[in-house]
């Protein structure tokens, strides 16, 4: 039993090692098969553990494999613990992960680097499982960093395109900024509680004296800072849209279904700390809602099929974060679950569309249009029926149309907002309408109307290894809502009951018909509006009908002009005197700020290195300067009244 708990991690790890060592000799199909089998086996084990957890008296299975870092006062074991929350996450990771592995066999066909791709993918699954199975903050951080590393390697996977490598590096660095907060949070947890194990920390937090509440707020905000990096919230979300440069299965697995939810998982896991820090909760709810709104708004006008989904992901993550901040933990986890289903589906279906659009290029070698630009698509429903059907199911689930999964989970968060915070409700409500609109726009532009390019008119349905996962995921997107039906339904609130052992009993409300009805009508209206608008969009070169909105369209299309805003408000005044720096910020954007900080650091670096003149005497002079300064500093501390 003890050892068995490691198996879900070890299996993908073994798959990775086998493929890394012998992959070159095995051939691409075998490599894919090994990787997929490893994850499938991990899935079977996850199901087994799920049952074990359900049967266990304390609703958890744990294993301790001796100390990792053991310094007298700090004892961090190789400890793993599967409880209801972990088990749920494991099912998502291995289940959806397995499907995406399967899909990748078809998707990566013919790519010379298939071996490396599956090695990374397996490593990712193992790391993600470590993250959710860890029983302490530090081991969680190991998984946290490793998934970041995998994400980085996979975003830059097609390195021949320098932009991909840049996007990968940016993702890594932005995530590291979040990690700074997370590491500091972990260090502060240890300084406060003298422990890092979840169990000990949470027990001590329950009994923390009221005057220490300030520390808890700081800890919580630091942990949340980590989550803003990994789960792409303001102001660190910038990396996620760029991350779509990676292969599409990666976008589905890492940047929609699993890794980006790590922040949400970590916050739910730390709910005991959150509950004692009401201020932090408010911040979290607000940041989530604002992120949801802003990203949803940007998604309205994008043309790139994956960019729309990317901003949509940021937006939906905002929903989950807001849910956590509102205290609707079950709702957040529920939305995490259904979102994993339908967003993975949407990405894979989008990948299928792109593959279909590339069909002409692959068969004739002609390359005339961007296969990801929705303006070049249209009318694909006749060419790719399975993709079309599954995409529409995913889209409607995302838009919150009953009885699909997204409706139920989104409704829970909206209901929580209605109970506690009108501001958040308004933001999320408007976002819900945006969501329905861009879903309608996307579905219509891609699958309906007439083909707007030659590539679109020659598109073809993709292979079964790709369509089968789509069908399975579509089924999940339809049925996922059953997992946590509102009070009054049969099998009501199953997920809530299931998670009770982890997050305690949460009040379970019946469906608020007025609220739900209002948002359904809103969503349907938004989709209908989108369809009516884009019926007249028949030529790829045509202007977006939304451009009639003028400034608002510009605001969305240009991602809030944050470029200019950041430049005007933050950067310009700050560097007004330093005109030589100005050129660096011309790239602009929040991107610009990130790049700008990087550029500033580089500028510092160059200046610093100019001191390194190569003249030995000037080195000596600086040594002397240091000597004088150190002596002065010593004397200063001495005369400041400190005596030994």
């Amino acid at each position: 039993m003890q050892m068995l708990i490691l198996l879900p991690i070890l299996l993908p790890l073994a798959g990775m090692l086998i493929n890394a060592a012998f992959g070159a000799r095995l051939g691409h199909r075998t490599v894919g098969a090994i990787a997929t089998t490893a994850v499938a086996a991990a899935f079977a084990l996850s199901v087994y553990f799920f049952a074990q957890v359900a049967g266990a008296p304390d609703h958890a299975v744990s294993g301790n494999f001796g100390p990792w870092i053991n310094v007298a006062e700090l004892e961090v074991p190789y400890g793993f613990r599967i409880d209801a929350l972990s088990a749920t996450m494991m099912l998502i990771i291995t289940g959806i992960g397995g499907l995406i592995h399967l899909y990748s066999i078809g998707y990566m066909k013919g790519d010379p680097r298939t071996q490396r791709f599956f090695v990374y993918l397996n490593l990712f699954v193992a790391s993600m499982l470590t993250l959710v199975m860890a029983d302490n903050f530090l081991l969680l951080f190991v998984g946290w960093e490793l998934v970041g590393l995998c994400s980085y390697l996979l975003i830059g996977f097609w390195f021949s395109n320098i932009k991909n490598a840049e996007a990968g590096r940016k993702a890594f660095v932005v995530n590291r900024i979040g990690d700074v907060a997370f590491v500091l949070g972990v260090l502060l947890i240890f300084a406060t509680f003298g422990a890092l194990g979840f169990k000990e920390v949470f027990e001590k937090a329950e009994h923390l004296k009221p005057e220490s509440a300030g520390v808890l707020t700081v800890i919580t905000l630091l942990l949340f800072g980590g989550a803003t990096g990994k789960s792409a919230q303001l102001p660190l979300y910038v990396w996620l849209p760029d991350a779509m440069a990676g292969p599409t299965p990666v976008s589905a697995l890492i940047h929609a279904a699993t890794m980006v939810t790590a922040g949400i998982y970590m916050l739910i896991r730390s709910h005991v700390l959150l509950e004692h820090a009401p201020v932090a909760m408010q911040v979290i709810a607000l940041v989530g809602a604002v992120t949801a709104f802003m990203a949803g708004f940007v998604a309205l006008t994008q043309w790139d099929i994956k960019k729309v989904l990317a901003y949509s992901t940021v937006s939906q993550l905002g929903f989950m974060v807001a849910g956590v901040g509102l205290g609707a933990l079950v709702g957040a986890q529920f939305h995490l679950l259904t979102h994993a289903f339908f967003k993975a589906l949407l990405f894979l279906a989008a990948g299928s569309v792109i593959h279909g659009m590339e069909h002409l290029t692959l068969t004739t070698g002609r390359h005339d249009s961007d296969p990801q630009d929705m303006r070049n698509m249209g009318g694909l429903r006749a060419k790719m029926p399975i993709t079309t059907a599954t995409f529409i199911i995913g889209g409607l689930a995302l838009a919150g149309i009953p009885p699909l999964a997204g409706f139920w989970s989104k409704d829970e968060i909206l209901a929580a907002a209605a109970r506690t915070s009108p501001a958040v409700l308004v933001l999320l409500g408007v976002t819900a309408a945006f969501t329905a609109f861009y879903v309608g726009r996307q579905i219509y532009l891609v699958f309906f109307g007439a083909p707007r390019s030659e590539a679109a008119s020659h598109a073809a349905e993709t292979a079964p290894t790709m369509t089968v996962p789509l069908i399975v995921l579509a089924a999940l997107a339809v049925l996922g809502g059953l997992l946590n039906l509102p009070a009054g339904f049969p099998a009501e609130g199953w997920l809530g009951h299931w998670l009770e052992s982890v997050i305690g009993k949460e009040p379970h409300a019946p469906l608020d018909l007025a609220l739900a009805g209002f948002f359904v009508v809103l969503a349907v209206a938004a989709i209908a509006f989108a369809v009516s608008l884009y019926r007249r969009f028949v030529k790829a070169t045509q202007a977006d009908p939304l451009e009639r909105l003028g400034a608002l369209h510009g605001l969305s299309f240009n991602k809030w002009h944050l470029d200019g805003l950041y430049r005007a408000v933050l950067i310009k005044p700050f560097y007004a005197g330093a005109s030589f720096l100005a050129r660096i910020f011309d790239q602009g954007g929040i991107d610009g700020l990130v790049n700008g900080v990087g550029a500033l650091t580089r500028e510092l670096s160059v200046t610093l290195r100019e001191l390194q003149t190569g003249f030995v005497r000037s080195y000596g002079l600086i040594t002397l300067l240091g000597a004088v300064a150190v002596v002065a500093y010593f004397l200063f501390t001495l005369f400041n009244g400190i005596r030994p």
Partner: protein, 100 residues
């Protein structure tokens, strides 16, 4: 008897002159001689303190500093000669190909 401070101040002065000279002369041999002056100043301080504490330890320390100085001179002059052979120069400012 002369106060210990007199000697230590003198030592400090010689040390400072040595340090400044080491940084203002471009000739490697000159720089090196200035560093010898710094060591010598330290020796003077050691001997003064040895008398202060009525010990021989400070004096013995000086013997070892002299030994170290001799070793440094051996290696340092060898280095200067060796570099002179390839560059025909003892100007340390000529050595700045590596920087940044």
């Amino acid at each position: 008897m002369l106060e210990t401070n007199y000697f230590v101040v003198l030592a400090g002065l010689l040390f400072a002159i040595g340090a400044v000279t080491a940084l203002t002369r471009r000739n490697a041999i000159m720089m090196f001689m200035a560093i010898e002056l710094m060591l010598n100043a330290a020796n003077l301080a050691l001997v003064a303190f040895a008398r202060q504490w009525q010990q021989l330890d400070g004096q013995l320390f000086v013997f070892f500093v002299m030994t170290v100085a001799a070793s440094e001179v051996a290696v340092g002059l060898a280095l200067i000669v060796s570099i002179f052979k390839s560059r025909s120069s003892t100007d340390v400012d000529d050595l700045h190909s590596m920087k940044g």
